[in-house]
Amino acid sequence: MLDHRMIVEAVTKRFEDGTTALNEVSLEIPEGQFAAVLGPSGCGKTTLLRILAGLEEPTSGRVEVAGDGRRDHMAMVFQEQSIFPWMRVRENVAVGLHGLHLDRANARAVVDEQLDLVGLQSFAEAYPHQLSGGMKQRVSIARAFASKRSVLLMDEPFAALDEQTKIGLHSELLRIWERTRKTVIFITHGIEESVVLADCIYVMTARPGRIHACVEVPFARPRDVVALRGDPAFGRLVVEIWGLLREAMAA
């Protein structure tokens, strides 16, 4: 069994144009944790995730992920439009199956199951230009889920979705997570969303991003994504994080 803990040690990222996106960021995410990352726009959240995914090299510092750096245990949901325009929805989801060596029937079953989960079964044969922005984002979520990889890196995955769909996907994500205990890093601008989902919330400062605070979320699992919002402790935590974010902006 691989150790799917992730360690980021004093990682700094300076781009070629001189922009420093991350400044000495350190965090350790234990295996099976659901971690959320909050922070102002442009503070380096995406950069941090790309470094973890191996799509970007840190300028200095160290990143430790399992699997000798091949990272075939990590699935990424990108912030921007990322599904291939030349593939049908079904084929796009099947991109997540690379390296799994499933036979045709099994692959089809996995893709159908994931499309069902994100409510796109009737669009399986459509091309991306026939979908809305939120539907495209759901395809890329289905692609990540289909991969069955044990670490999920999600960059504002639900940002483009309406509130009802979002809440539906929150409970699906939690259901999957509670069953499989994947390690999840979930970037978001939604404070409530992060409290509903995460075990632990990292708050980052404005650029160059540093970790300003780390908040434990005490609510028991399994959680009810709607009922939880009525809990007075939920409101207090949201307010506390709101305060931390304001501090982080000023820091």
Partner: protein, 264 residues
């Protein structure tokens, strides 16, 4: 004012079929105009014989079998030359798109060699490959090769970075990377290259036949001119034009089928 959905779809279809009709009708209209202009002597029949007399000359040439023979060799040279140039051109273009090192080596060479008129090196090509079919095929292939290499590498380079990141993140490598990401991503630009280079190929094959052949449509045109059989010259010219037209229309239809994912 929008009407029902059915009405709108019908309207969109009607517009599309009208567009296709116009494509067919415009050359026919030109021919009719030409015929009339010769009949009323606005055009001099010695230089611009009427389409009807060109058709008569064509029928004569067809009856002797001369026309079919010339058409066959020209098409053969065109098709063989096109594939002989396109396949290595696409391969080099892919490699250039993939590797900055290949690009650094190949792009200055292409920039220098591409603008050399291929007809200017025909004497050299004939010296090496002889007076037969091979020298024409090579001339066409050289012209096609550069255009396909340039268009393919440009096509690969303009693939949005995010798609390369997705491929990397999900372990899409090797042959599946080429088949699922690079080729489809570069296909629009590749097909544009195919259209342009088929036009150039047609020009090259006819020009090469002008200068160094005893058959083919280029020879037919040249021979018609030298023996002052102007109608025969026009037969050759019109057939070349028809080939160009059919090839372009065919490729546009092929494009429609090959790129169902492009919004239109």
């Amino acid at each position: 004012m929008n009407g029902t959905w059915e009405a709108q779809v019908r309207r969109a279809r009607r517009l599309r079929s009208m567009e296709r009709m116009l494509r067919l009708a415009s050359p026919i209209a030109l021919l009719l105009l030409w015929e009339c202009a010769v009949r009323v002597r606005v055009l001099d029949a010695r230089f611009f014989p009427a389409p009807s007399s060109v058709v008569a000359a064509a029928l004569g040439l067809a009856r002797t079998g001369e026309l079919w023979g010339d058409l066959r060799v020209t098409l053969l040279r065109l098709v063989l030359g096109f594939f002989a140039g396109a396949v290595p051109g696409i391969a080099l273009g892919m490699l250039m798109g993939l590797s900055r090192w290949v690009r650094a080596v190949a792009s200055p060479l292409i920039a220098a060699l591409y603008p050399i008129p291929k007809i200017a090196v025909l004497p050299l090509i004939i010296l090496i490959f002889g007076l037969g079919d091979l020298s024409k095929i090579v001339t066409v292939a050289i012209g096609v090769f550069f255009i396909m290499a340039i268009n393919t590498s440009a096509g690969v380079l303009q693939i949005d970075r995010i798609y390369l990141d997705v491929a990397k993140a999900y372990g899409v490598r090797g042959p599946s990377y080429v088949r699922e990401v690079l080729l489809p991503g570069a296909l629009p630009s590749l097909l544009t290259g195919a259209k342009v280079s088929l036009g150039i190929a047609l020009i090259l094959v006819v020009a090469a036949e002008f200068l160094a052949a005893k058959d083919g449509l280029g020879y037919l045109i040249w021979n018609g001119w030298q023996t002052l059989q102007v109608e025969q010259m026009y037969v050759g010219l019109v057939i070349v034009a028809v080939i160009g037209y059919v090839v372009t229309i065919g490729l546009e239809e092929a494009e429609r089928l090959a790129l169902p994912w492009l919004p239109r």
